[in-house]
Symmetry: C2
Subunit: 344 residues, 2 copies
DNA sequence: CGCCTCACGTTGTACGTATAACTTAGAGGG
DNA sequence: CCCTCTAAGTTATACGTACAACGTGAGGCG
């Protein structure tokens, strides 16, 4: 029955179609559906418009709305890697708050945060209202700032924020808790298994650890590894077999590193936690999947993402909130115990 | 020196500004920058326009372009949960291909794929070119189909695809490989630790397992658990202490489940793999973090995401490719060994 | 009775882009 | 010398929305 197929297979109804169906003007439809009709449109008419919109399955064209309003209700989330469970959880939290405010979140995974590929970001930023950037190097940050886009920094150095709002986890306190836990268990020779990544969040861990052991007589050696189990295992093996007194505890920047450290211990015939204590960071799924379960610093990742997006939306609204760092908690599980020496 | 601050803090240059700077009309700017100027604009002029655009830092307004062109170069990726590393990797692959074609990817996490909350999806779909939906129930699928949006199904039942293109992993073959591996090791009493999730991808695992053991004389019992370590451990403990012959191997729908199974074994005083073999599925980071490392079916998750997006873009281009299922590989590690009986 | 106010709308326009349709100046052909 | 043709632009318009500015008829009031 139908004639030859038209090239327009998608005649989505517009506000004008709704207007025609309701017997009003397009402007009235816009007023009613935009909730700006108080005292401008009669309740009877408003209801008729709403009914027509429902009937036709009307959805406003966001491109047109964005063009008209000059904003997009879209925020960019920049993270090092979404495959890192921590950032996936940050995204979850951020997206939840965003949705609550009618915002969308587009992701920009920056494999190398020090030198982000400009192209995908360039094409995207023209349609963004704001940026939520996690763990970025200040160089990359500077290029973003040049765009004058509202920016909120997550877990980044306040000293290099260039005036952007920052939202932080109390990473330093987490590291302090982990260190004091090990010290209280009698450990005096610590190995810091550090992430081989240039990022403020890891600098904070280092400094907090240094501060925590200062004056206690304990010593800290450092090993570095990429955020992968294998690399962490190799690095730990090397560090534990190096000359000098063998560390009795490994304090790791991350749970993945801690898992690698545990594997290294097993390879060397050391028992965790009897011969070697290990602490992680983040409390990922990993932490309770390995044996023994990891003593680790639990970060409220989703809450963190939520607070980040809340802050960005506040900034867009002209306010400049400066939230307190979110508290973190050491969770003591099976991978830490009294040092062999303290047990006597 | 500057006067009082204006309310427009962001006068981003438009194509008209570029035109003025280059001494041409706005249309010419659009032609040059859109690469449609062959034989329409002199090379000298084109270069002048490009220079002006560079000078002003011009970026086209995507909202205006989208409105004009009626498409958004944005695809929606629907996944059950981004915190599942598998889906994070699928996203990575999909986003990579998308970027290559100038497409953006927006995520829609569907916590419950059987009854997706309509609201966030509703507001988003008006600005989408297509949908890439992973592991969705056919009900939810039907509601999407109603929108007439180009759709590609990932890892979903071809029989319920309602005509949408499907892209699949060869899950059945993976499960077959795992089952045959265990059978070859002499295991005759298997426990299938199934994901307590209603999804085609898990139905396929079940059916493939059933088919693989048919006629071999082996028996398969089934336990169900949510995709979490703790739940998997509990379910496995219950199944292993149930009356009847104790299974000598656990074949799991997922690595997280496998990690839970390993923990259950340890609790019951069983050694993996000597007393109990365990296989996983997905080959997540988890698989090599636990001890022993998991024998598991490796899925090319990123490649899968890439192929999904390639297919969606092909569909948007009017083609209807039907790619072969991607091959998967069993990776034998330390969590499987000969059955105690076969060892004699 | 004439004017004002108020409630309820409508008309018109702008956002920035892409492109169809048109103009114009030479070049070349008959 | 006029006519056509092409290169090299330009003018004008539409996409769908939000909202400022403008009617308009009815009732109130002096």
């Amino acid at each position: 029955m139908a004639g030859p197929q038209r090239e327009t297979a998608d005649p989505r109804p517009t506000s004008r179609d709704v207007a025609r169906a309701a017997g009003v003007s397009q402007a009235t439809v816009s007023l009613v559906l935009g909730d700006k009709w108080q005292g401008r449109v009669a309740e009877r008419t408003a209801e008729r418009v709403r009914a027509a919109a429902r009937e036709l399955g009307y959805r406003p064209n966001l491109a047109a709305r964005n063009l008209r309003l000059g904003r997009t209700r879209t925020a960019l989330l920049v993270v090092p890697a979404l495959t890192n469970e921590f950032f996936a959880r940050v995204h979850t939290g951020a997206a939840r708050v965003a949705a609550r405010h009618g915002f969308g979140v587009v992701l920009y995974p920056a494999p190398d945060v020090t030198a982000p590929a400009r192209d995908p970001f360039d094409s995207a930023r023209a349609s963004l209202d704001g940026v939520l950037a996690s763990s970025m190097a200040s160089e990359a940050l500077a290029t973003i700032r040049g765009d004058e886009l509202p920016l909120v920094m997550l877990d980044s150095d306040p000293a290099h924020s260039l005036g952007a709002a920052t939202v932080n986890l109390d990473i330093a306190d987490g590291m302090r808790q982990a260190a004091e836990h090990l010290l209280a268990l009698g450990h005096r020779d610590l190995l810091h298994l550090a992430a081989d990544v240039s990022s403020w969040t890891f600098d904070v861990r280092r400094d907090a650890l240094t501060a925590a052991v200062a004056g206690t007589g304990a010593t800290v050696r450092t090993a570095r590894a990429a955020l992968a189990v294998d690399d962490a295992r190799t690095a730990t093996e090397a560090a534990l077999t190096a000359p000098g007194p063998r560390p009795t505890a490994v304090i790791c920047d991350d749970d993945v590193l801690a898992a690698g450290a545990c594997k290294a211990a097993r390879r060397l015939g050391l028992h965790v936690p009897d011969d070697l204590s290990v602490t992680g960071f983040d409390d990922l799924t990993l932490a309770t999947a390995v044996e023994p379960e990891l003593t680790t610093v639990a970060l409220p990742a989703e809450r963190f993402g939520e607070q980040g997006m809340d802050t960005l939306i506040a900034v867009l609204g002209g306010r400049t909130p400066a939230p307190e760092p979110l508290p973190v908690d050491l969770i003591v599980r099976g991978s830490t115990a009294q040092s062999p020496a303290a047990r006597r």
